[in-house]
């Protein structure tokens, strides 16, 4: 699977030169974050609400950038060129790797900002970290797959978020509950089942994507 890594490096190099996906994602995240913090203002929202808000910000900002990875190949007419030199699974893995790195970067920037701006109290940082880490795999896996599907269709932007939402709903729901638990208590036991769901779903979605990608990519 060394080819997946080469594709990842190629995408990284392209991103480094254009900063297209990174700009899209970060702008979106920063704008929503400021909008939300102004709207909520001086009074502090409940932890449940804040947990949900954090995931919603992460979800929508990642959706604004993850789809780029395949759309850019279709639009630049390089998709077929890539097909000539790589198998579908190598392409999927390379693109998935890129999207997950993008998501991690987004989280490194947005989560500390969110905690600071929104007075979000976290009791168990390790649990929060873990939740975000596993959740990212699910988000990136589902996001990459949906990106491949919509790159073949005419309508690009809006369709992506609409299609991703139902697929990624389980990730959002269990991610939000686990985050809420991390903000309320020290222990791990209560979060166990949420983490399990999150993990199981991420594994399922990534496996399914790898298996199904061949059909999507080759029309």
């Amino acid at each position: 699977m060394i080819k997946a890594y080469y594709i990842f490096r190629k995408d990284l190099l392209q991103e480094f030169k254009t900063r297209f996906a990174m700009n899209a994602i970060l702008l979106f995240a920063v704008v929503t974050l400021s909008a939300v913090s102004f709207a909520i203002g001086t009074f502090t929202a409940r932890q449940e609400v804040l947990s949900a808000l954090l995931w919603i910000i992460l979800f929508f900002s990642s959706m604004s950038g993850l789809s780029h990875i395949f759309v850019k190949e279709e639009e630049a007419k390089t998709a077929d060129t890539l097909k000539l030199v790589a198998s579908a699974s190598a392409i999927f893995l390379g693109k998935f790797l890129f999207n997950i790195v993008l998501l991690f970067l987004l989280e490194i920037i947005v989560v500390p900002l969110f905690i600071a701006l929104m007075n979000f109290n976290v009791q168990n940082y390790l649990l929060l970290f873990f939740t975000l880490f596993i959740g990212s795999f699910g988000l990136a896996g589902g996001g990459t797959m949906v990106a491949a599907i919509i790159s073949k269709s005419g309508a690009k932007g809006a369709l992506f978020t609409v299609l991703s939402f139902p697929i990624l709903l389980p990730v959002l729901v269990s991610g939000i509950s686990a985050t809420k638990i991390a903000s309320q208590e020290q222990g791990w036991m209560t979060a166990y089942s949420e983490l399990q769901t999150l993990f199981a779903f991420s594994v399922v979605i990534i496996t399914a994507s790898i298996l199904l990608f061949d059909f999507v990519w080759n029309e």
């Binding site: 080469y6 190099l13 030169k17 390089t78 077929d80 060129t81 030199v85």
Partner: protein, 204 residues
């Protein structure tokens, strides 16, 4: 190497583009696909190169007696056409190194350095492809298609965007290809047809 196309048909939705195309081609031979605009030349090349599947019929490659699988076909073929673009944001060198690695070739300039000189792009390796003119891009595509010395070469519109000198260079490359392996071109130019041992005509 031997290519067998067996009753290939292709539909796009209800629309039939290709109907029962059948032929056999061996190493050292050149096939020209001819036909008016929109008749299905490009579609046929894409099917033969395994980029898209036919609606019915079979494409088979034999290396001696051994039937090649789809993955293996790509390591034996080179393809250039107007819809096979290289990465615009990257330099020629970055492009060629990427494709060189992807094809499992040596990870250095040795695979493509000479070709760049031959097509007249020596010295332009470090420029972004988006700064190339369309003729230069076409020349670069020949480097991409030939860097792994494929046994089978597909060329859709060989002369597209090229000047007189470019055409001469390309003809020389195509002649070499024909003596090394198989050549399949889609064209309507009289001059290109001089290469062809066989023609397949596609109709509207």
């Amino acid at each position: 190497m031997k290519l067998i196309a067996d009753h290939i048909s292709k539909f796009f939705g209800e629309k039939r583009v290709l109907k029962n195309i059948t032929f056999e081609l061996n190493s050292g031979q050149c096939l020209a696909v001819v036909g008016p605009n929109g008749s299905g030349k490009t579609t046929l090349l894409r099917i033969l190169s395994a980029l898209i599947p036919p609606s019915s019929g079979k494409v088979q490659y034999f290396d001696g007696q051994i039937l090649l699988s789809k993955e293996n076909i790509f390591t034996h073929t080179g393809f250039l056409g107007p819809y096979l673009e290289l990465y615009d944001d990257l330099t020629a060198e970055e492009n060629l190194n990427f494709f060189s690695r992807m094809r499992g070739l040596k990870d250095d300039r040795s695979t493509w350095w000479n070709l760049m000189d031959r097509v007249g792009l020596g010295g332009r390796e470090e420029d972004a492809v988006k700064t190339y003119s369309s003729g230069m891009k076409q020349r670069l595509k020949y480097v991409f298609a030939l860097m792994h010395q494929p046994e089978i070469l597909f060329v859709d519109e060989p002369r597209s965007n090229l000047d007189m000198q470019g055409i001469q260079i390309v003809y020389e490359l195509l002649r070499e290809q024909k003596s090394r392996g198989m050549l399949l071109i889609a064209t309507n130019e009289e001059q290109d047809l001089a290469f062809a041992d066989f023609r397949v005509a596609v109709h509207d």
